[in-house]
Amino acid sequence: MNKTENNKAWFLVLPVVILVAFSAVIPLMTVVNYSVQDIFGPGQRFFVGDEWFRETLRDPRLHEAFVRQLLFTGTILLIQIPLGIAIALTLPTKGWGVSVCLVLLALPLLMPWNVVGTIWLIFARTDIGLGGWSLSQLGIDFNFTGDPLHAWITVVVMDVWHWTPLVVLLCYSGLRAIPNAYYQAAAVDGAGAWAVFRYIQLPKLSGVLTIAVLLRFMDSFMIYTEPFVLTGGGPGNATTFLSQFLATAAVGRFDIGPAAAFSIVYFLFILLFSWMFYTAITRISTGTR
């Protein structure tokens, strides 16, 4: 059997190629270009090879920011995923309560991110903010602008408030998609609530959970706006995560070369981690090891 070769079809892909080129490939290549040069001004640029990469990777401040970032992402994943599943399991499944709950849950997701930061900035203040004031009334000397631990807790709680609803909505849709016959079969087989969760709900949620974890990993790894508004990375460098570090280098100090080198490393790391994670999860859920 002969396959018809028709290379004209490639022209149909052209619009997408152009679009992707301008939106992703060309900007990315610009960054690559910056990362291998030392630029002093227009016309004054020198090729430096991998020097910026080596310098960036050795920077202890970057190492600290990286550890902080891992800690933050790990913390919020550990809180948001179980919490999201738990809330999704308790949501109503019929009646007017469904739409009320879904709308309430979607609210944090609809807010502009700097507004989220501002809300929590006010909320955490001990003089005019409900949260901060309540804590100080309870006798806790709450000070998120001065105490690194308090700042951390505030940022984590804010992120949980902001993003857990996404996990809830994903899980809720996953739970709704489980045919009723599964629950009926489990009831007939004498399975308890835990067995139903462990052997029906959790396996059936594995698809949406993969998406939830990936989205939450990538988003939290790139978190910028909310801590920027809330703590500005402080106190000291206590809540300076990778994006903030990058922005300070690129915009604050105008070190374009190191910032570009770091951007590429950052990008590759997220890509690598997402890929590893995706592969691991799909292997577990299909049962190949």
Binding site: P179, A181, Y182, Q184, A185, A187, V188, D189, G190, A191, G192, A195, Y199, I200, P203, K204, T286, G287
Partner: protein
Amino acid sequence: MARIEFQKLAHSYLERPVQPADFALKEMDFAWEDGGAYALLGPSGCGKTTLLNIISGLLRPSQGRVLYDGRDVTALSPAKRNIAQVFQFPVIYDTMTVAQNLAFPLRNRRVPRAETQRRVTELVDMLELQPVADRRASGLTADQKQKISMGRGLVRDDVAAILFDEPLTVIDPHLKWQLRRKLKEVHERFGHTLVYVTHDQNEALTFADKVVVMYEGEVVQLGTPQELFEAPAHRYVGYFIGSPGMNFMGAHLVSDGIGIDGTEIVLGGHWAAAGRQHARSRLAIGIRPEFMAVSAVPRDDAVPAQLLWVQDLGNFKLVCARLGPHEVMAKLPEGETVPTDGAHLVFRPEWTKLYADDRLVA
């Protein structure tokens, strides 16, 4: 293993049912004997699955009681009732192997490990699942998955009854026969009470000792396949069981008996007596095509009819004739000669039935 009994059982999916049409199951009272194989037969939406779910306890009836061996179980959960149920579409636990799937109902009941192992091995052999026993259940074909579902129903030998809700819908025709035979084998060996829901009359008639025919939320007849065939208690049973279905002709009361609409035929005797008791009802005369004979010459017990067509179907002949406004089918044995014109239809009195408001009265 239990005798299942219903007392004034009825169910509605509405919160406040008022009229009969609001009920998915209309009030019923009957009992199924311990160890019997029952088929629940009826068209889609007649309430078969509702009744099954009430027996298993997945659904709580709006009124009435369900008794197992005289014990009221209406308020008990399926687990407490110790019942097994197999659903129309395969339900398997994706993350478990085939063997673990089969062991699941036993594990939930804390059956000792050795006993579980023994039962699972036995079932794996019986259902011919050996090659896949240690594979994950999620990658299997639909009929293998359904075998697992059925296996989970069969794995406990102390269950009160095993309920099947059209379990062979997703199975290939050649496997259907094989699995049905397997079920029959299991039934003979363990003597469970089996209830089998289906809308396929062949499946019902080959599987069950007793067939329960349901129609619009009512049990219209409970009987052996032979009883359903020879004396359908309801018009629906008449045309649902048998192929082609029973012939029905509208009838009315005349001074000396029951007259078939649009013809000169009048039935006297016991039909007339029964017909008079149901004078206000809608009457119909029914006769199975199998019990209809066709004669070329006029006879005392035959009426002239116009022959429409004859179809030779290999092992029998199907004859269609016009009698007044009615089209009547007759199923004749192979080799019987069919008159080319001037046919006379023979109504044998023992097989000629009178129905009043769709129910058999004589």
